[in-house]
């Protein structure tokens, strides 16, 4: 196998064109500041549902109202929901979460141009959580909304954890005749709770 | 200003009226036009089929014919683009370079070199414009719908100077008609389907005439219209601009 590595690397070295400079990304990064309205418009276009609170203490009641019939609620922060799951969701290889009805997590930041939320293993604790739960609710601080992906990566910097993901809306597919259907394999709905 | 008139082979043989209209139009606009005798083909049919190496004879002939003109103008975006991109002659590269740099498709010559602002032309009909790809995407005679940039179109700019002419809108402003050189026979099924769809877009929007700056595309569209026994007619841009 190392043989193939050497062979490939030799061929690449032999055949690659002369090195060129990387372009400057600065011209792409300037621009108008992010607005909640811009974020809302795109996020809703991606199928997310937006709620606003001024105090985090409002969140448990709000979620109870929006997701009244959830049996197993997983919350990464006990302050976000009144009722925690009845099983030990942190232990296992992820499969223990197949009964999760609703997951409530915090995002590090939101991106106005595409309605995406940045979540990492640190907040999620179990990687599969936002995918396997039937529904997903994400708390986002309004002050963390950035205009574009360039700004997002500037803020994120280098990787701090083993896994991170941008999530923009519920899981979806249009593979059958381009008809949009929400809830392909991941969460069937995504509620974003903006904390002002 | 000496203008060499480049009349591509299939226009010479099958659409002489397009050559005549181009000549008359240029003369009307004050150009001193010469037509070098012994023109044949720019070599594009061979080159686009993968036989660019067989085009030396055509290149030599073309260069000899046109080297003494200030500008070379032809009523076909596709042929002009081919010359611009591929004309080379080993022992006469200076002349070939001069031609490559000074060859123009008719509409761009009118708008960019002659800077025509008005025309003595009248054509009281509903007209749809077929944007031929090589003129549009190769020579940039009009903006492409794929790109994010300001709209412009040299053929439309000229057609807007024609009295009584009503331009129709299309659902697909710049989709290829499917002619594609030898593609039209080697990929007959797709070629015809593309042509039928283009024709349908024009017909659906009420065109009485389809015009454009490439006779090859128009020949293909005309062939389909005539098979359909459609009353819609096809005219080259020069024929409309020259119509008084």
């Amino acid at each position: 196998m190392s043989n193939s590595r050497d062979k490939i690397m030799a061929a690449v070295k032999q055949n690659q064109p002369p090195a060129s400079q990387l372009p400057d990304l600065a011209p792409l990064i300037s621009g108008a500041p992010a607005s909640l309205e811009a974020f809302r418009k795109v996020a809703e276009g991606m199928g997310s549902h937006l709620l606003e609170v001024t105090d985090e203490a409002e969140i448990p009641a709000l979620l109870q109202e929006h997701y009244p019939d959830m049996e197993q609620v997983i919350t990464t922060d006990p302050l976000l929901h009144a009722r925690a799951a009845t099983f030990d969701w942190l232990t296992g290889d992820g499969r223990q979460l197949q009964q999760a009805d609703l997951a409530i997590v915090r995002a590090q930041l939101g991106v106005a141009e595409n309605g995406a939320l940045w979540l990492t293993e640190k907040e999620l604790q179990v990687r599969v959580l936002p995918f396997i739960a039937q529904h997903l609710a994400v708390v986002l601080d309004i002050n963390t909304i950035v205009p574009t992906m360039h700004h997002a990566y500037e803020k994120i910097g280098g990787p701090q954890t083993g896994f991170g993901v941008f999530i923009a809306g519920p899981s979806k597919t249009a593979d059958i005749e381009q008809s949009l259907v929400l809830g392909a394999h991941g969460a069937k709905s995504l509620t974003i709770i903006i904390k002002k | 200003m000496k203008v060499g008139l480049f009349i591509p082979c299939y226009i010479d043989q099958f659409y002489p009226q397009v050559g005549i209209a181009t000549l008359q139009l240029l003369e009307k606009l004050g150009c001193e036009v010469g037509y070098p005798s012994g023109q044949t083909c720019c070599g594009q049919p061979m080159a686009n089929s993968g036989y660019e190496h067989l085009t030396d004879g055509c290149n030599r002939l073309f260069t000899d014919n046109f080297k003494s003109y200030d500008y070379i103008v032809g009523p076909s975006g596709s042929c002009v683009l081919h010359v611009k991109d591929h004309l080379h002659v080993a022992d006469n590269e200076t002349a070939a370079t001069h031609i490559r740099q000074n060859i123009y498709e008719l509409s761009e010559f009118l708008t960019d070199v002659l800077q025509v602002k008005s025309l003595r032309a009248k054509f009281p009909h509903k007209v749809g414009v077929h944007q031929s790809c090589h003129g549009q995407r190769g020579l940039h005679v009009s903006q492409m719908t794929e790109l994010v940039g300001p709209a412009f179109s040299k053929p439309l700019q000229l057609l807007n100077m024609v009295d009584g002419l009503e331009l129709i809108e299309l659902d697909r402003k710049d989709e290829c008609c499917g002619f594609g050189g030898t593609f039209c026979v080697f990929e007959e099924a797709v070629s015809v389907k593309m042509g039928k769809d283009r024709v349908a877009d024009h017909v659906h929007h009420g065109a009485e005439y389809i015009t454009g700056n490439d006779v090859s595309c128009l020949m293909h569209l005309e062939g389909i219209l005539r098979r359909q026994q459609s009353p819609v007619k096809v005219l080259h841009l020069a024929e409309i601009l020259n119509n008084e």
Binding site: S4, K7, T161, P170, S171, E177 | H220
Partner: protein, 456 residues
């Protein structure tokens, strides 16, 4: 041309036998193209973004050796095991060995055009291992025993009624029900149980970052994540050209990818895999399979910039009217037609000719690959390599002779017009493909040159 394999023109003709279906296929893809346009126009800096992406990829091609070393080193530090495969066969063997070590007979795979290119599913099936494709579109074509017809929209050629029938047989949905909502829900249930049971997951890779050793995988459905996060072993298969230099460059590509592909501002999930989860094995298979050779072809190396968005297919007037299967290659459309001859000139000699060279593909390409110019150049290469039919070459030679000699040309033109006037049946017959569905122009009495001599 291998006579056992039908060429693009024949396959396209068969596709065109059902015109309403061609219209449907064309309009569906045109709709996606329009969505892409809308997204492009939402960013005033769109063209700058494309140019930047193209320059980044250019830098990658020129430094690929160093970036591969950097990526490998970082990936290993992250705890991944890196494998190198010179060709498809070696790639398949590596994956098989990993599966055999785990003793699995069935596993899930999310979308990876590379594994299609390597025909991994067939190879594993021959070794008694069943691959479950988990992208809905891919699962559909898999159940139909067909290859994907599009790199982003694998079953774009299928009607929902056909999918309903397939699901009725394989997943037990009600007969005659073709509701996309219901069918998707059935697939969700079926594939959830596969995800839960599967101990190994294969994913593709959209971007691999040299600087961090991480890999980004983009999906709308969440299938890559469901597979990879639940599995004990995650195998990520990627071509060596998938590298980008730094994490910040992801911003450029993630802004372009989904907008170009489906007209969305971003895919639902853009997952950044760096380390294996605790207790998990992460294997990365770096595959060459002709890429280093293409890197050495100056005229064609830019094709390696491709980020597999499929925009060139959606815009291609030929693709929309001939269907993905007419390209008889894992990657169809214009980009497939410039990649395939690098793999096998003989087998794919027809593909660069399956184009009018209109150039729309080059204009939509988010990394500005000169696709139509490469199609032109491949034609020259294929002819020089003797991959065209002898009759065509002979015809071209006659044409050249005539067109190089004005006297001969004049004579031939006159003869042709004369024949068309006095004996139109000589030209207008079923042996002339032009005449099949088109009229020829009425032959004029004289050429322009003759008129000119009389009148000027």
């Amino acid at each position: 041309m291998n006579t056992a394999i039908k060429d693009h023109a024949e396959l396209a003709e068969a596709f065109n036998a059902n015109e309403p279906r061609v219209n449907w296929h064309d309009e569906t893809l045109w709709w996606v193209r329009q969505k892409r346009d809308k997204m492009a126009w939402s960013l005033p800096e769109w063209e700058t973004l494309r140019e930047t992406a193209s320059l980044i990829k250019h830098n990658v091609l020129g430094n690929l050796h160093a970036y591969l070393e950097e990526f490998e080193r970082n990936a290993q530090q992250n705890g991944a095991i890196v494998h190198w495969a010179a060709d498809a066969e070696e790639h398949n063997r590596i994956v098989l060995e990993l599966l055999q070590q785990q003793g699995v007979k069935r596993m899930v795979k999310s979308k990876s055009m590379l594994t299609e290119e390597c025909h991994l599913n067939h190879y594993l099936a021959d070794h008694g291992i069943e691959v479950i494709d988990t992208d809905l579109g891919e699962r559909i074509v898999q159940l139909a025993k067909e290859p994907p017809s599009h790199i982003v929209l694998p079953c774009i050629h299928k009607k929902k009624e056909e999918i309903g029938d397939l699901f009725h047989i394989h997943l037990g949905t009600p007969a005659g029900n073709a509701d996309p909502q219901l069918l998707t829900a059935a697939a969700r249930l079926h594939l959830r149980s596969e995800f839960i049971q599967s101990r190994v997951a294969i994913t593709g890779v959209n971007f691999a970052v040299a600087e961090t050793g991480e890999m980004v995988v983009c999906t709308n459905e969440g299938n890559a994540d469901m597979g990879a996060h639940l599995a004990d072993v995650h195998i990520a298969c990627m071509g060596i050209e998938k590298l980008i230099p730094q994490r910040k460059h992801l911003g450029v590509f993630l802004r372009l990818l989904a907008r170009s592909a489906t007209g969305q501002p971003i895919t639902t999930y853009s997952s950044h895999f760096r380390t294996p989860k605790p207790g998990q094995q992460l294997h990365i298979v770096l595959v060459d399979n002709g890429r280093s050779r293409q890197l050495g072809r100056e005229d064609f190396r830019n094709s390696l910039k491709c980020i597999r968005c499929g925009a060139c297919m959606n815009t291609c007037p030929v693709y929309r009217r001939s269907g993905g299967h007419s390209y008889h290659n894992a990657i169809a459309g214009p980009i497939g037609a410039i990649l395939a001859p690098n793999l096998d000139m003989k087998q794919y000699a027809d593909l660069p000719f399956a184009s009018t060279l209109c150039g729309s593909c080059s204009n939509v390409c988010p990394v500005k690959i000169d696709i139509h110019q490469q199609l032109y150049k491949w034609r020259q290469v294929l002819v020089q390599d003797g991959q065209t039919k002898a009759a065509k070459t002979a015809g071209m030679k006659i044409m050249t002779t005539v067109l190089s000699r004005p006297g001969l040309y004049k004579f031939a033109g006159k003869m042709a017009r004369w024949v068309m006037r006095v004996a139109p049946g000589m030209v207008n017959n079923r042996f002339n493909p032009w005449y099949k569905q088109r009229e020829l122009p009425p032959p004029p009495a004289e050429s322009f040159e003759t008129w000119y001599k009389k009148n000027r």
